[in-house]
């Protein structure tokens, strides 16, 4: 991953973070809420190669850690999304060629978001954070997965084009 792409990816995540915190979080979803940021981050991680996925995971986590409403220690999301990126990079080939099967890709992203949230909860519990009852947490995780399945097909084509545009000639 080139330095230019790192900067552009970071800028992209900042914009996405602003949209998430300013607009998406204002919507009262019937079941829990929807994290556009996580859905896009996991999608990008899934599209990248091994090293690219790791760097993308880390950068997206660092930006998410800047959330002023978060109770988690700074760096927790970076750790989790780097771990998720590693899992994706290692296992992606064994699952399928995701780009050729949009349905599988969407499900893969939804599962990724759910796993990320569950690991976040687990880490939070280990660090002594209060995250509420198990039933409530499950609703949050399942709600996020549901809305990810609903909304990911809407932004996925645009995301693919933006990513193609940001690639250097060598990376293409």
């Amino acid at each position: 991953m080139s330095a230019l792409r790192i900067v552009s990816t970071l800028a992209f995540f900042f914009v996405l973070f602003t949209i998430q915190e300013s607009a998406v979080s204002l919507i009262h979803f019937p079941i829990s809420g929807f994290s556009l940021y996580l859905a896009v981050a996991i999608s990008l991680i899934a599209l990248e190669d091994h090293n690219g996925a790791l760097v993308t995971g880390f950068l997206s986590g660092i930006v998410l850690d800047l959330s002023p409403t978060s109770n988690a220690p700074f760096g927790q999301w970076a750790l989790i999304l780097t771990g998720i990126a590693f899992l994706f990079a290692v296992n992606r080939d064994s699952i399928a060629d995701l780009t050729s099967s949009p349905v599988t890709f969407v499900l893969f992203v939804a599962v990724g978001v759910s796993i990320a949230l569950m690991i976040y909860l687990l880490f939070g519990s280990l660090l002594g954070e209060q995250n509420g009852s198990l039933s409530h947490d499950l609703i949050v995780v399942l709600g996020n997965a549901l809305w990810t399945i609903v909304f990911t097909p809407m932004f996925l084509p645009t995301l693919g084009r933006v990513r193609e545009y940001s690639l250097t000639a060598r990376e293409r």
């Binding site: 602003t18 998430q20 915190e21 300013s22 607009a23 998406v24 979080s25 204002l26 919507i27 009262h28 979803f29 019937p30 829990s32 809420g33 929807f34 994290s35 940021y37 996580l38 091994h50 090293n51 790791l54 760097v55 995971g57 880390f58 986590g61 998410l64 850690d65 800047l66 959330s67 002023p68 409403t69 978060s70 109770n71 988690a72 220690p73 700074f74 760096g75 927790q76 970076a78 750790l79 780097t82 771990g83 590693f86 990079a89 290692v90 080939d93 949230l117 976040y120 909860l121 939070g124 660090l127 954070e129 209060q130 995250n131 509420g132 009852s133 409530h136 947490d137 949050v140 996020n144």
Partner: protein, 320 residues
């Protein structure tokens, strides 16, 4: 791992994980760099959130509006407003009865509700990527708002100020799992601790082992030292279920909040509470000074036959 890309990839993974762990350690040790970064983010975000909130708020209520489709909106709003008003009146009335029954300070009751507040608009809600329940309001330290101040809506307590910038503040909602507030039951004045559970249902644990909780009991904030983080007497919610388990030492109950945390538009931050609030000692006003004017009756003119002693010459006493 061999499939993952060799030594370089492994090294990159280790560096990134170690960096993340380094940040976590710094944060847990309270290094201001990581705390400050979130404050800077809030400062940058709040103007954007304020603008987007103005444009985006009708869209934000889309899903809740769909649920009420077909109902006469005006009627619904009227009924809701009346319901909220009655609930608030009921809470205050029950609290007043409880206080009077224990012969507590009557003067404190007169001051209840006489708070100095700063009104603010909700411009953002907590992110779905974290499990914390917060809102962001468009007033901050420039309006006199400081961390650990009580935040109320028209129906009662909704949270406490978590952090501030000059023009915005983050409010930790009562529904947050880490939220705790001391409450008292208006009927019996028993004290307990109310905890958020992540939804509009709360858990109440009574501190008094001999105390009792009844369904329908009204809860009010107990107040904190110096009125921060909580001012006393703010309606919190009502008991909807009591856990009568004999195994526990104290009674527990399920409480429903008066305030609808999903429909917060305008809130108020309590900047100052009345000085005669119930949590503070009552200073009785000084007794009035009684001034007595003494005017002696006129000395009787005694005849010379029976006046062996001299007659005292009485002078009217003047007030000093």
């Amino acid at each position: 791992m061999a499939r993952g890309g060799g030594n370089r990839s492994r090294l990159l993974l280790v560096i990134l994980l170690v960096t993340a762990l380094f940040f976590i350690t710094l944060d847990l040790r309270g290094v201001s760099l990581t705390k400050g970064s979130r404050s800077v983010t809030q400062t940058i975000l709040s103007p954007v959130q304020r603008t987007v909130s103005t444009i985006f708020s009708p869209v934000g209520r889309f899903f809740s509006d769909v649920k009420n489709f077909g109902k006469t909106n005006a009627e619904l709003q009227q009924e809701l407003a009346l319901n909220k008003q009655l609930k608030a009146q009921l809470a205050m009335s029950a609290d007043t009865k409880g206080q009077l029954s224990q012969l507590k300070a009557v003067l404190d009751l007169a001051g209840r509700g006489n708070y100095k507040v700063a009104a603010a608009r909700v411009i953002a809600r907590g992110s779905a990527s974290s499990f914390s329940q917060t809102i962001t309001i468009d007033a901050g330290s420039a309006s006199g708002i400081r961390p650990d101040m009580t935040v109320i809506s028209q129906n009662g307590l909704i949270g406490v100020v978590k952090s501030t910038t000059s023009s915005s503040a983050i409010v930790l909602l009562t529904s947050d799992p880490s939220f705790r507030v001391g409450v008292r039951i208006a009927r019996s004045q028993s004290v307990g601790v109310l905890s958020g559970l992540g939804s509009t249902i709360y858990s109440l644990v009574l501190l008094d082992p001999a105390g009792t909780i009844k369904t329908g009991d009204i809860l009010l904030t107990n107040g904190s030292e110096g009125n921060r983080p909580f001012v006393p007497g703010v309606p919190v919610g009502a008991v909807v279920g009591v856990d009568n388990s004999t195994a526990s030492l104290t009674q527990t109950a399920t409480v429903v909040s008066y305030a609808n945390l999903n429909d917060l538009g305008v809130v108020a931050v309590i900047l100052g509470a009345p000085t005669t609030a119930p949590s503070r000692p009552i200073q009785p006003s000084p007794n009035p000074t009684v001034t007595v004017y003494v005017t002696p009756a006129p000395t009787p003119q005694v005849s010379s036959l029976i006046s062996p002693t001299p007659t005292p010459s009485a002078q009217p006493t003047k007030k000093k």
